[in-house]
Amino acid sequence: MSELAMDTQIDRSAMKVSDEVAIEIRNMNKWYGQFHVLRDINLTVNRGERIVIAGPSGSGKSTLIRCINRLEEHQAGQIIVDGTELTSDLKNIDKIRSEVGMCFQHFNLFPHLTILENCTLAPIWVRKVPKKEAEETAMHFLEKVKIPDQALKYPGQLSGGQQQRVAIARSLCMKPRIMLFDEPTSALDPEMIKEVLDTMIELAQEGMTMLCVTHEMGFARQVANRVIFMDQGQIVEQNEPEEFFNNPRSERTKLFLSQILGH
């Protein structure tokens, strides 16, 4: 895949991994009806980690990260986010969702609200932040993703790359401690991928804990501290990016890398 963002100088100094555990997943299993989609997942994510999850289509990557904010329900095992275990308790779920930001492949912006309203909605209604303060925060993050001048437009009037950056800003407005990305650049035209990746790199440089499902291997090499390879609902291999790309150990990983890197 494209070696993007190579021109950006990456400052790894702030990308420190602390000992504090952000997400802990223990023996987690999930089924869709009879179909065993996630099998015995064990994963500990420390604060400040940037994890890239790769794997063939249908291997359960989306399902895994969607379990972390309970967009999907797991049936066995434990998921503990920021010390709170995900159970069917609605209060815990809403609490975790407000602490964990998520960006989707298709952005999922609210088309009937302006960019600014998209960004202030959750802070105002969930965090009960006064409107004016929420708008200031929103403008701050919109400047960060470099589209403050679009604040009063509607999502339908923006390009895909701009929409995805708004989606990132919208999540950031909730001041999340963890960000989940589910193929954030897969629906974008090639010339827009870079602008979104740059935003994500900047986020990583500020020490955000990130889990990214992505096929952008250049991004994985530069930003990730760990790459996880999934196949058939299981974690097959995980390693530091250099090792992962240069010395893949499992046959499945080798096959996958040869398909995705070797054109």
């Binding site: 967009l71 989707f104 609210f110 088309p111 009937h112 959750a122 919208r170």
Partner: protein
């Protein structure tokens, strides 16, 4: 073409073309007529034929409509006036409208109290302001809108001021139970419990409480019985109430139909399918005749209220299906976007899902509104005096025996004005809510 090197394969444009005016024949009235009326021989023939038909219709109708019979006090008098004019096709007898239009508007409502329905109608327009023209009307007016139903009911029926106040308390009960129960219970269950409590209050407690209070503090205006309601005032009372209630009930039914709770879902589906499978007339007969059999003897359950309930239930079932169509058209990502931000169920419904689902459903919703408003004329069958019922009553008067067209044209015209406004409003709303292509 020589300056653009068209003969060579590699090509570089050297001069950029300036913007030019469109050809004169495509703009202005001539251009308009050309593209809209006379494009091709077939359209030209159709345009000419339609033009001739419209002229012929006007030629036949106008002399009938323009008829100096506004002062006539009976059909015979009309005939004398028209006979004296010696018109070939006769003329309309407008005397019946000028004599009876007040009755067509207010039925048998006492004339000295006409100001009450008129005031209610004016206040209705104020109350609808924040709902219909949100960006033009101050947001605070919405509090008046919420009180309006009680004010209007009190103005129309009169009686003690305590009746509307105890009725409002029922809604306060629902609001309180929603507020305090959603944190511990499923939102649908909380709503059901709230509604049950409110119904208990309205049925068992509200009446005696209002009676007691009015004995202590008798404030009120002259009471007017439902029998005296009639004409467009009756249609509007039934129609507007049913329209305004059916939308929220329809939304709840549509949401219930999507619920994970099997019982809630089954009840909603059962209700919707039952109501949609039965003609409105049957429901009205149930309201007028059968309900008395089931109610304990001696209970005085107002006939207009019974009809309003039936028409509302009928409209709600249709509304639920229209709203469900809007919900189905929303991509799943909208729910996930709302969930991922930590919005709870009612917040995401109110802020994300419904604004979009309702916007998609506007044409269907307004069609249902228009249908309900026109269906109110069916109450003439259970001998209530809506405009159609009144037109029969007017003909029963010997002075006007035999007048059909004039009454129906008048009634039709008034209905048309209401329904056409609703339809235009819906188009305006669709345009205003347009937020760029998705």
């Amino acid at each position: 073409m020589s300056d653009t090197h068209a003969e060579t394969v590699s090509y570089v444009r050297e001069t950029m073309l300036p913007q030019q005016e469109p050809p004169a024949s495509t703009v202005g009235p001539v251009g308009w007529a050309k593209t809209n009326l006379f494009s091709g021989w077939f359209n030209t023939v159709l345009s000419v034929l339609s033009g001739i038909f419209i002229l012929w219709l006007a030629y036949r109708l106008l002399p009938w409509i323009i008829s100096p019979t506004w002062q006539a006090t009976s059909l015979n008098e009309c005939r004398e006036i028209i006979g004296a004019l010696n018109k070939p096709h006769g003329g309309a007898c407008w005397g019946v409208i000028s004599e009876r239009w007040k009755q067509l508007m207010f039925g048998f409502y006492p004339p000295e109290h006409y100001w009450r329905p008129v005031l209610s109608l004016i206040l209705l327009l104020v109350a609808l302001g924040p709902l219909l023209f949100r960006h033009l009307v101050p947001a605070k007016v919405i509090y008046f809108s919420m009180l309006y139903p009680f004010i209007a009911a009190w103005l129309l029926w009169g009686g003690t001021i305590w009746n509307p106040i105890v009725a409002i308390l029922g809604f306060v009960i629902i609001a309180l139970s929603l507020k305090f129960l959603t944190s511990v219970l499923n939102p649908a269950l909380a709503l059901i419990i709230g509604v049950l409590l409110a119904v208990i209050w309205w049925v068992a407690l509200a009446g005696p409480v209002a009676g007691g209070l009015s004995a202590v503090l008798p404030i009120g205006i002259e009471a007017i019985a439902s029998r005296q309601f009639g004409g467009f005032m009756l249609s509007i009372t039934i129609g507007v109430t049913a329209i305004l209630c059916s939308l929220p009930i329809g939304i709840l039914l549509a949401l219930g139909r999507q619920s994970d709770l099997l019982l809630v879902k089954a009840m909603c589906v059962g209700f919707i399918e039952f109501i949609r499978g039965v003609p409105l007339i049957t429901l009205l007969f149930v309201a007028s005749v059968l309900l008395n059999i089931f109610l304990p003897p001696g209970t005085n359950f107002d006939i207009i209220l019974r009809v309003i309930i039936m028409v509302t239930l009928f409209a709600s079932a249709y509304m639920a299906e229209v709203v469900r169509g809007g919900l189905a058209a929303l991509p799943k990502g909208q729910y996930e976007g709302a969930d991922s931000l930590g919005l709870d169920y009612w917040q995401s419904q109110r802020l994300i899902i419904m604004p979009q689902a309702l916007k998609i459903s506007i044409p269907g919703i307004v069609s249902t509104f228009i249908g309900v408003f026109k269906d109110t004329t069916l109450v003439s069958i259970i001998s209530m005096f809506d405009p159609i019922g009144l037109s029969n009553a007017i003909r029963a008067d010997t002075a006007w025996n035999g007048v059909y067209w004039e009454l129906f044209i008048f009634i039709g015209l008034v209905f048309f004005i209401f329904c056409f406004s609703m339809s235009r409003y819906s188009m305006y709303l669709e345009r205003r809510l347009q937020t760029g292509h998705r």
